[in-house]
């Protein structure tokens, strides 16, 4: 068996360049300091694979800094009164979380690259050339690896390693954290290739759903467990016992120091990951299938008010594109499952039953915040599903704002399984009023966040001749949009929590609840009014 297929690799670089070209059509051409900065992060059609990956690396560096700049601040502020216990616990918990999250990021990036290749049907452009199907499929596998994911995580690892090094003076962090991030990519990548080679790019979403949910449950279980240790000794014992399992050898070596076991297992994960990442794509290619459209069945008749018809069109597009469907429901399940499960746990139900009535309603209205965060992360998929068909939107009499509304309506329809499940569970376990509060707040905050997210993204994408894909926005802009949308929460949430916990004299007990209900109301009413407008 050939270890490395050079022809397929060359083809993979062409796939990536084509995807960038289809998304951008032309290079970013601005001049000046801002343009120089933007150029460092935004892919360009003039990039070779090295420069393209370098941009992902710098984006990873910046994302890593954004994710962890507050660590030294917290340590500095709190070390006088919290001591070694808190700092060790804090760093270990943080590292476990980011390393497991890196798995989630790489899984999602792999979905994204495969979705882009599929949507743009890049292989169709070369299928008449004398290139075998297996080479094309292997090329798709390679393009996943050089598509930026590995470089992004490497950059993130370096940035976080640097910050951890400066925070706790651990020189090992500079090697072990990037190594941990790289091995998560190298371990996830071959698994994903096998999954996609068996199931094809348009396979049912169950596998990815399972992977996402499993990862999140693992993250929460491990993460929450690390927070419940009663002493540093107990935590160290835990780390020592599990330092054979990813990601603990990297964390152990970073926080405690190198020992034979952590070195052997860190190296083993890297070596095995590297070997599998070389071997698997040369054996298995991603199944690239032209979509097969079975023509039995009846067409829907989209005779609804104008923007609702457009929203139903998006619902149909998503439900008929299993790659995007995987992404949408995979991420949604990953974000929501732990919280839905918490509503079924005896512990949380006992706490809720024990609370004052209004206070329990406030707690449940916090599901709105979860919906808000979910919408910020998940809703962009409905824009990317347009891909190069965004040109259809441009020829129709619809403006940017109307498109944002119609996409919000569509994403809200697709989101409904979550609030409905929440409504049913809460109504059965608590009361119908609790159920209504959960249903209302999760929908209202979802609508608010989706609409703002679409407005911000369309600000960058509207009118651009390239396709709307993950490449057209670039990771940095996506992160910027997410940060912009999450900043208001940083002010809003403490206010609600303060009202809830402090209940000042000037505010009645239900003020927190009223605030949670009223804030998203204007946008929600505005958007929903379009259901009836023709």
């Amino acid at each position: 068996m050939e270890l490395f297929d050079r022809k397929a690799f060359t083809l993979a670089t062409i796939f990536i360049r084509e995807a960038i070209y289809a998304s951008l059509k032309r290079a970013y051409e601005g001049k000046g300091i801002i343009s120089f900065f933007v150029n460092m992060f935004l892919p360009s059609i003039e990039d070779n694979m090295f420069r393209y990956n370098l941009k992902w690396f710098t984006t990873g560096l910046l994302s890593g800094i954004l994710m962890s700049f507050w660590i030294p601040l917290i340590i500095y502020v709190s070390r006088t009164f919290m001591g070694l216990y808190f700092i060790t616990l804090f760093v270990i918990a943080y590292l476990i979380m980011v390393m497991l999250i890196s798995i989630l990021i790489i899984t999602d990036l792999i979905h994204q690259v495969i979705a882009s290749i599929n949507e743009l049907m890049l292989w169709k452009r070369i299928e008449y050339l004398p290139i075998s199907q297996s080479t094309i499929e292997k090329a798709a596998s390679y393009s996943v690896l050089i598509g930026g994911g590995l470089s992004l995580l490497l950059g993130m690892g370096f940035a976080i390693g640097l910050i951890v090094y400066s925070s706790i003076d651990s020189l090992q962090a500079l090697i072990m954290i990037p190594a941990g991030f790289v091995s998560s990519t190298l371990l996830v990548y071959p698994i994903m290739i096998i999954v996609y080679s068996k199931l094809g790019g348009r396979a049912p979403p169950l596998v990815s759903l399972f992977i996402h949910v499993a990862i999140v449950i693992a993250i929460l279980t491990v993460y929450l467990n690390t927070l419940t240790f009663r002493s540093v000794d107990e935590l160290l014992l835990f780390l020592r016992s599990y330092r054979m399992i990813y990601p603990f050898p990297y964390i152990y070596a970073t926080v405690i120091g190198f020992d034979a076991v952590s070195i052997v297992f860190s190296a083993a994960y890297l070596t095995v990951g590297l070997a599998l990442s070389l071997l698997i794509p040369s054996k298995y290619g991603i199944k690239l299938l032209s979509p097969t459209f079975k023509s039995h069945g009846k067409a829907f008749y989209l005779n609804f008010p104008r923007l609702l018809s457009s929203a139903f069109k998006d619902v149909l597009l998503l439900l008929r594109d299993s790659t995007r469907q995987k992404q949408f429901y995979g991420q949604l399940a990953a974000l929501s499952t732990p919280f839905v499960l918490s509503l079924l746990s005896t512990q949380s139900l006992t706490i809720l039953h024990g609370l004052e009535y209004v206070r329990s309603l406030v707690i449940l209205s916090f599901y709105g915040i979860l919906a808000y965060v979910s919408a910020v992360i998940v809703s962009p998929i409905l824009l990317f599903i347009e891909s190069d068909r965004n040109q259809i939107i441009y020829m129709l009499p619809i403006n940017e704002c109307e498109l944002a509304i119609s996409k919000t309506l569509a994403s809200t329809m697709l989101y409904q399984p979550i609030p409905v499940i929440l409504l049913l569970i809460t109504s059965l376990t608590l009361s119908i009023v609790h159920g209504i509060i959960v249903f209302y707040s999760s929908n209202a905050y979802w609508i608010m966040a989706s609409y703002m997210s679409y407005k911000l993204m369309l600000h960058f994408l509207w009118g651009k001749q390239g396709a709307w894909t993950e490449f057209s926005l670039g990771v940095l802009r996506r992160i910027m949009i997410m940060v912009l949308l999450l900043i208001p929460l940083a002010f809003y949430l403490p206010l609600v929590i303060a009202l809830y916990t402090l209940t000042p004299a000037w505010a009645p007990p239900y003020a927190a609840l009223a605030l949670m209900i009223i804030v998203p109301l204007p946008i929600m009413v505005y958007i929903l009014s379009y259901i009836f407008r023709d």
Binding site: A299, Q391, I392
Partner: protein, 251 residues
């Protein structure tokens, strides 16, 4: 009526249209001719407000497409050159979506859809996914979508490519009839035989400039040619160049 005054357009540093002055009158079939890359599709996209000119003024009826593209698109039916359709929608779904976006009243939607599906002979395919249709059938779906709201302006970019002679003949007649009704028609095509038959007014673009404009006879007279093909070649390429290409292709 569509008016271009001193319109310039470029992609980056590459000029695509240079100082275009043009009156596209209603009641006539206006045909846009020109070699590849001469700026035909760009001209159509400027009319729709999909692209914005670097300089100059464009008016579509009373609207400026740069400032008010939505109003222009409401009264326009457009068939793009590429297969721009959602492959995972069924024909009826796509047409009903497009019709509703154009504002076809809900109580008249069925009637409008039946009219265009019958006209372009796609009724048998209404439940088919567009992705499963042949290229020609996809073009017919796109034509149906452009006609569904009975627009007062029709912009058709290479509408005759890929469609069979029955539909092509019907389309030629329809364009003539629509022009007689006072609608504004602009067709871009490379098929000179068709242009010769349908055109009331020819606009010949070359290297981003209008090098000939007027009735077929006027263009033929300018080029001192007997047919449109000869006129096209003599205005856009030397005979020696044609001979060179033939020689190269023959190997």
């Amino acid at each position: 009526m569509i008016i271009f005054r001193d319109v310039w357009m470029s992609y980056g540093d590459t000029p695509v249209l240079k100082n275009i002055n043009l009156d596209i009158m209603p009641g006539k079939v206006n045909v846009l001719l020109g070699p590849n890359g001469s700026g035909k599709t760009t001209t159509i996209k400027l009319i729709l407000g999909i692209l914005k000119p670097v300089r100059g003024v464009i008016r579509v009826k009373e609207y400026d497409p740069t400032l008010n593209p939505v109003s222009v698109r409401k009264i326009t039916g457009y068939v793009p050159e590429d297969d721009l359709v959602y492959h995972s929608l069924r024909v009826k779904e796509y047409l009903s979506f497009v019709a509703r976006m154009y504002g076809v009243p809900r109580n008249k939607l069925n009637e409008a859809m039946e009219r265009v599906m019958d006209a372009f002979m796609i009724r048998d395919y209404e439940n088919y996914f567009i992705g499963s249709l042949s290229h020609g059938l996809k073009r017919r779906v796109m034509l149906a979508a452009a006609f569904i709201h009975n627009p007062s302006i029709l912009l058709l970019d290479e509408p005759f490519i890929g469609i069979d002679p029955r539909i092509a003949r019907a389309l030629k007649i329809v364009l003539k009839e629509k022009a007689k009704e006072g609608r504004t028609i602009l067709v871009s095509t490379h098929i000179l035989e068709i242009a010769e038959v349908i055109a009331d007014n020819i606009i010949l673009l070359y290297n981003g400039e209008i090098i000939a404009e007027g009735s077929v006879d006027k263009v033929l007279a300018k080029a001192k040619a007997r047919g449109l093909e000869d006129a096209f070649l003599s205005l856009t390429m030397s005979r020696e160049k044609v001979a060179e290409i033939v020689k190269a292709l023959m190997g």
